[in-house]
């Protein structure tokens, strides 16, 4: 009995100590372009951006492209599991929760997965991963990978910044873009002008109280109104149908969706 407990403790000790030591010791690439989708300068640019984000927000950020992720998994893993294990096995992530995220893009099956670990799930929650990846997927669909990743990092920064300020974006606190802001103010001002116009036109119509009376109901002799017959005859019906517009979400376009994994990680993935 004692032996078995010792054995388990030994294994746990090795596991706990080995990974963090490796993690802090070596420099890890944050843009891993195995599929060769990016030029050298693009790769550098993205890496610089990521370094800045890591410095400012202390969350790990990895972009990984592969030709076909199934080659690495012996067919047993899905895109999510592959992204998760790549992140874990290579010692990515900061703090005791390994906080950070990895974006995996696999070219052959046009699969993608954004895996999020630890505290990063607070900064980039369901709302965030949907917001960020929806915009990125538009570019990936057109094979504009560098642009897609660059936009992904820009959007990510929005969410990390909000998290850093203590007010992470979410369904109850959505992102406000300039266009959205202009729209809101446009509506506010437009509605104000319409309201002002209604009021002054109301005042104007109040200036003329001489209104004609098309009917003469005041002169109906009281109690003289009698109905001698009434008939409501049904004639025919016609039915029209209009298609209900479909909302274009990533789940319908790529079969993606959020799932929670064994290490408490979140994420989102699908096809592009």
């Amino acid at each position: 009995m004692k032996k078995r407990v010792m054995f388990v403790l030994m294994v746990l000790f090795l596991f706990v100590t080995a990974v963090p030591v490796g993690a802090s010791a070596e420099y890890r690439e944050r843009v891993v372009d195995r599929a060769g989708l990016l030029s050298e300068s693009e790769e550098e640019e993205l890496a610089e951006k990521i370094d800045d984000l890591i410095d400012n927000y202390n969350m790990d950020i990895v972009i990984l492209t592969v030709g076909d992720y199934t080659q690495y998994t012996n067919g047993g893993m899905g895109a999510r599991e592959f992204a998760r294990s790549y992140y874990a096995d290579n010692g990515y992530g900061f703090d005791e929760e390994n906080s950070g995220m990895i974006l995996m893009v696999s070219l052959i099956g046009r699969d993608w997965y954004m895996y999020i670990e630890g505290e990063a799930n607070v900064a980039v929650n369901d709302y965030g991963s949907e917001y960020i990846t929806d915009r990125m997927l538009e570019k990936l669909k057109d094979d504009k990978f560098a642009e897609g990743f660059s936009g992904y990092l820009d959007d990510l920064e929005l969410f990390l910044k909000a998290y850093d300020k203590g007010k992470p974006y979410g369904d109850d606190h959505p992102v406000v873009t300039t266009a959205k802001m202009l729209k809101y103010f446009g509506i506010a001002i437009g509605a104000s002008i319409v309201l002002a116009l209604i009021i002054v036109l109301g005042m104007k119509s109040g200036m003329n109280t001489a209104k004609p009376r098309p009917a003469a109901r005041e002169y109906v002799k009281q109690g003289s109104f009698v109905l001698t017959s009434q008939q409501d005859l049904y004639l025919y019906s016609n039915t029209t149908k209009t298609a209900i517009p479909k909302s274009s979400s990533s789940s319908s376009s790529g079969g993606g969706g959020r799932s929670s994994g064994s290490r408490g990680g979140g994420g989102r993935g699908g096809k592009f």
Partner: protein
């Protein structure tokens, strides 16, 4: 043998009996109907093809009553050389100003062709009441030009008896309406809208008492309708003494000319009354309306009106008050400078508030 052609209630084309469906079918629009429905539909429409709206003639030679001896002699006629308006006053009342166009010179005129009115409603509101009502009407009107009220000679407001034709009648009506009910539902792909069409028919009677139609072209019909209604309980048989101190307008729209207007108002009222009994539909529109008059009778009455016609910056503005009930109507001039500055002010003010709210919400 003549064959009755049944019309499609949907598009108006001819209907044919479809032996497979055992229904009447329209080859043009494809709609199908039960035989019984089509029969009833056509019967309903046929029942409405009858003559309508006949009035007894008003004897314009003598009116309903004749002047008593000496009565007409106590009246004086005047004519306005500017607008041609003819007015009448009793011998004790001198007309000094044309009530229609504000012209200060009116000329004596031979009084002729005026019939004795049947009824009169005496003035109950005084000149002071009319002036107060005018001032009250100008109160709180931000669009009114600043010096409008000061510039008005509201003491020149005049009491005038306006000739009205009063139309009494019983009606027997048959009105049909096109009506619809709308249902909507949806499945995962489509939103469906089903519209059921109905033919509604209402028949019945209603009596009207003394529907007034302005008998003077000089008086704007709109104004005269706007100061309605008069309370007929206080209406009395006409005596020239009621004219004392007031002017009267000599009618220039005879009873026949007033009939179409009375007919229109009666028809609209009947359609509305019947319409009120049609419930539970999304839309109801008059398809056919047949209003038959019974015992249509016309009488002639003088009704009291306080009137002020006034010039402001080259435009004539009219104000009228019901001399019995005190109901005041009129069109006030508008200061466009004030209109636009108020509009700008409200726009800026509301925009500031709305933007502030938007700012906090975002």
């Amino acid at each position: 043998m003549s064959v009755t052609e049944y019309k499609c209630p949907c598009c108006g084309a001819g209907l044919k009996f479809s032996s497979e469906a055992q229904q009447m079918a329209c080859e043009y629009c494809g709609t199908r109907f039960d035989v019984e429905t089509v029969k009833q539909y056509n019967e309903t429409l046929q029942s409405q093809e009858q003559p309508e709206m006949q009035w007894e003639t008003y004897d314009t030679e003598s009116g309903n009553g004749n002047w008593k001896e000496g009565e007409q002699e106590s009246l004086r006629g005047y004519i306005c050389p500017s607008c041609g308006g003819e007015i009448v006053g009793d011998a004790t009342t001198a007309a000094t100003k044309c009530p229609y166009c504000d012209n200060p010179a009116v000329m004596p005129n031979q009084l002729s062709g005026m019939f004795k009115p049947d009824y009169v409603i005496p003035f109950k509101k005084s000149k002071q009441d009319a002036q107060d009502a005018f001032r009250q009407n100008c109160k709180g009107k931000y669009l009114l030009p600043k010096f409008f009220l000061q510039q008005q000679r509201i003491e020149s407001i005049q009491g005038i008896y306006v000739p009205f034709w009063l139309f009494d009648c019983d009606t027997d009506s048959n009105i049909s309406y096109n009506a619809t009910k709308v249902h909507t539902w949806s499945d995962s792909n489509y939103r469906y809208t089903k519209t059921d069409h109905f033919l509604i028919n209402r028949a019945g009677g209603v009596d009207f008492e003394k529907v007034p139609v302005d008998g003077s072209t000089k008086m704007d019909d709109t104004y005269m309708e706007a100061i309605e209604p008069y309370r007929y309980e206080e209406m009395v048989d006409f005596e020239t003494m009621y004219l004392s101190g007031y002017l009267a307008d000599k009618y220039d729209v005879d009873a026949d000319a007033g009939k179409p207007h009375a007919n229109q108002r009666i028809r609209t009222s009947v359609e509305q009354l019947m319409r009120d009994t049609v419930k539970g539909y999304a839309t109801v529109n008059v398809k056919n309306s047949n209003v038959r008059l019974k015992q249509g009778k016309v009488s002639y009455a003088l009704l009291p009106v306080w009137i002020l016609n006034t010039n402001y910056q080259g435009k004539l503005y009219t104000f009228a008050m019901n001399g019995q009930t005190g109901k005041f109507v009129g069109e006030l001039p508008i200061s466009w400078k004030r209109f636009w500055s108020l509009f700008a002010g409200f726009s800026v003010g509301f925009s500031a508030i709305a933007s502030a709210i938007a700012w906090f919400l975002l």
